[in-house]
Symmetry: C2
DNA sequence: ATAAACCTTCCAGTGACTGGAAGCAAAAGT
DNA sequence: ACTTTTGCTTCCAGTCACTGGAAGGTTTAT
């Protein structure tokens, strides 16, 4: 299977697949003309990559997921732990973004938003030390 | 004021301040010995940068904030619009992270998490196309 | 025969820093 | 006065996960 077909099968851009090969996440075969040749197994790995990236796993986490998925003797506990870690990270991001949201909302509420140059937002941004 | 003092006054790392100068966000004076010399006004700009970055504004947005803060004839409406845009972006990020959280939670719940190699998470990751 | 679509590699850029090396300048300690 | 430490300078390279583009070879369709 050519790289373009693999791309449409997985939803990954061609460039991204080449990049994944470059950093050793997948190792497609090569044809006589130099074209990459993707096996079904390889496409499955790409599908895992696409899906896991979509879920916010880093490429290093994806690497571990791939090695777990290749390991017939794996314990599902290990996969779960990885996912759990990722979940924590997502929750932390949500928490800090929520704090941002509140602060921005407060700032916006305090600003008149008219033609005059005095602005509560700028006042706040310049007023205090960072944090 | 030396760069180190400016750094402690604003909470920004020295390296970051130099980077901000490099991309033209601030332009401190220079002393005879080549050291940067930060005026109070310059430090205020750095404070704005620190605070705005902390609130998730991009550096390009910060650039616009700085030019608005320097413009005596600005309309606070414009500042508000910028903050409002940022708020939307933050809300979108929160929404998509929340979707991730739900999906991860579901996946984790389906996985036994024991010694056995069969794992609902891996099954899911390899099963379908990436969207 | 020609055009288009597809493949290859390599180089450079993104955003926002961050780390490190090599080399002066200034401040502090003895 | 001398030495050590700290602080400043520049420049180069790396991070993460791609993304764009150039220059060129291959295959497929017309």
């Amino acid at each position: 299977m050519n790289i373009g077909t693999a791309a449409t099968q997985t939803g990954l851009p061609v460039k991204t697949i080449r990049y994944y090969e470059e950093i050793g996440l997948v190792t497609p075969d090569r044809r006589a003309n130099g074209y990459r040749d993707f096996s079904e197994a390889c496409v499955e790995q790409l599908r895992l990559l696409a899906q896991a990236r979509h879920l916010g796993f880093s490429l290093e986490e994806c690497r571990r997921l791939l090695s777990l998925s290749a390991d017939e003797g794996r314990a599902s506990r290990d996969v779960r732990a990885l996912a759990q870690q990722n979940l924590e990270a997502v929750r932390e991001k949500i928490a800090s973004l929520s704090a941002l949201e509140a602060q921005l909302q407060r700032l916006i509420a305090q600003c008149h938003g008219d033609d005059a140059p005095d602005c509560a937002i700028l006042d706040d941004l310049m007023g205090q030390r960072g944090n």
